[in-house]
Assembly symmetry: none
Homo-oligomer: 224 residues x 4
DNA sequence: TATGAATGAGTCTTCATTCAT
DNA sequence: CATGAATGAAGACTCATTCAT
């Protein structure tokens, strides 16, 4: 496909570089923001350039081509966050509910601090033609989800998990309960008139739901 | 001069039309499939035409333009499903858990029968720049979510709902637990090696989770 | 260019045909109106068809193709008018001012009765790429202008014409004084706030100008 | 997203720019020539590009879109000429025949120097669907014609104008006598076999006609 | 380090035209 | 008589990309 791969000013990783060259960081920031707001396919390089008050040619100067920009996004912004989450979960021990509590708290805090992430993830990773999907699957080959699934399976075997649950689907449910609400914020806040709900409320609500389900006194509502 | 809206062959509603002329239906089917798999913005009309073994000009013959194709998708395929869900929920009574059971069952069955819907919905309705979003908000102004939120609020006031939950967020969680797993199927089935899980398993799992949360005996795990 | 020339229902010239088939006349009328208002190149057949409440395919059924429609316009609507003008001028005798009076009166009356003609003529005949130009030059090979020029040349030789005038340019001036004001009506009526001026005023004004020029004292120059 | 107006290389007004970069000027020249010869609607951008040995994409690079090209034509080529005419007429004093002499001379010289102008003006400004019409009316809101009309009205009131003339129509006639002959050159030169007539002949003829009309004996009407 | 100029490839759209019915 | 279905060709416009400077 690509004959040669320019990609000139690849920051030598040791140097802090603040004086010159964080131009590139700015460009990545702008790209992230626009890709997140409007979608990757909907955002031409020229739009990013315009927003950053820069020529489209400069985008190529820094990133070589469109694909490489996406690579940069993944490598420099998304992957580190995933790694961080992985480490925080590893530190959470193996007791299922502690793990879940760590997961929910970590994810929601992460998303609250990086609001560009959930929409991007939902759009470009989750679904089949997602433009970041293969990149994520190849580079950050996610060990988090399978590891979680394994732990839930063990917990279920030990009787430490609601027996009605499927361990794998439990992981899926967890992600659905954390990623989805943050990704879809813009619609449910409008639709349900819920501008006042903050991250902490969200975390509490989610933990309450995961803790004991919907019912108020819980025990007798288990399906027989 | 040229500001009129073609949209010629508007199926006369009485005729069954199977022999000739469901060409249009075929085109909508193909569009739905490609939009769902690859995203709306990523899918040129020419790709749809190619898939349907037809010229791009024919797309314009039937739909006038790209926007009208999206309108057709919304009006003819998505909106009716939404209406159906609304009706089924209305029939479910107002007892919270019965309502939830109906919601989960209806949604998951719907999604299983129309597998193109969840990815499309997640990408093009829920996130900010989604290309179907405004269309949905304008035509099918969703009354389902607000209605559910109201019922949960009442239930909570009556003590019939886990007091740790926020009524509005409960709706969000419900959607996250039903829409997300179906939308993200293609990724978690691969990642978690879970090709064997069927719709019924999914429903049971979700209802179990909503019924009593994660814990096996549950009551004492409620956060204070 | 054209392999075969369909042109099916070419009215057999003797038959009056009122019951069926003046459909075709209607189409020509509509075409004339739209071509005149918006220009030939700017008017697609489909626009004419739409205006006439007819399918574009019918346009082809009647006229074979776009070129033939223009032929029809020329042959059936414009050429006869030109011929009529020629005959009326031939009847005007050879005295220069009588001829001019006849020309001005005939032209302005003609244009007032067929308001679609001047804009069409100006746009599509006068200038080099005009879409009716070659048609006119080939079919109605205008003998009027050369004939007039000849008569003015004779008159000048006999001392019966202002010696400062060029006979050929006199023809050009005449056309400029009659065709132009009618073709440009829509702009000067607006610009000069002159909605009240009628055809007769126009004729009188033009004859006065041609009779004695701009200057105030000209009684003896009127033809007896 | 894509509603902005590119129009990039907006010549920095100080620089003379002859060596490199007058590409844009060349494109405007070619556009003017083709629009004038064939009509605006009849001339695709690709034709202009082809003539200029350039890709159609470059047209968009310089002008953004078709509309902006027309804007450029109007602003950079036509409007300045109109302004110049206005200034020259303002300098001509208010005596009617002096004014007319100035008008005829100015217009015909202008048209002789810019032969692309008359056909363009006639086709695209004067007639109803003209593609430059609104542009002219909006930007160069023509004060020339109304001003002339006013002066003729005054002159008539003072007895300094042929009483048979209508002041407003006098303006129309003047334009008809100057614009029309130049716009229609290509046809009457061919039709009347008049390739030898030059601008000066045209001016003299027109002034003679306006001075004393068609009749042969008019010595006293010459301006002193 | 940065950019203006330029382009090829592709997308959306329009339109004249054909043809079977 | 008349039309619905279908298409090829062309036009406007966008965009990633290249390259000389």
């Amino acid at each position: 496909m690509a004959t040669t791969t320019p990609q000139r000013p690849k920051r030598s990783p040791g140097r802090p570089a603040k004086g010159r060259g964080d131009q590139r960081e700015r460009l990545v920031d702008v790209a992230l923001a626009l890709f997140s707001r409007n979608g990757v396919a909907e955002t031409p390089l020229s739009a990013i350039a315009r927003r950053a008050r820069v020529t489209p040619a400069l985008m190529h100067y820094y990133f070589g081509n469109r694909e490489h920009l996406l690579d940069a996004l993944m490598d420099e912004r998304i992957a580190p966050l995933v790694v961080k989450v992985g480490m925080q979960l590893a530190a959470a021990g193996s007791e299922p509910f502690a793990l879940v509590r760590a997961f929910v708290t970590t994810m929601m805090t992460l998303f609250a601090e990086n609001p560009w992430l959930p929409p991007l993830w939902v759009r470009e990773v989750l679904t089949e033609g997602g433009l970041l999907r293969e990149r994520l699957l190849k580079r950050v080959a996610p060990q988090i989800a399978p590891a979680l699934a394994r732990r839930f399976a063990e917990a279920k075997a030990e009787g430490a998990l609601n027996p009605g649950l499927d361990p794998k689907l439990t992981v899926v449910s967890l992600i659905g309960l954390t990623l989805f609400p943050l990704a879809a914020q813009s619609i449910w806040r409008r639709l349900l008139d819920a501008d006042d709900i903050d991250t902490q409320t969200l975390i509490n609500h989610t933990l309450a739901l995961l803790g004991s389900g919907l019912g108020p006194v819980a025990p007798e509502r288990n399906p027989p």
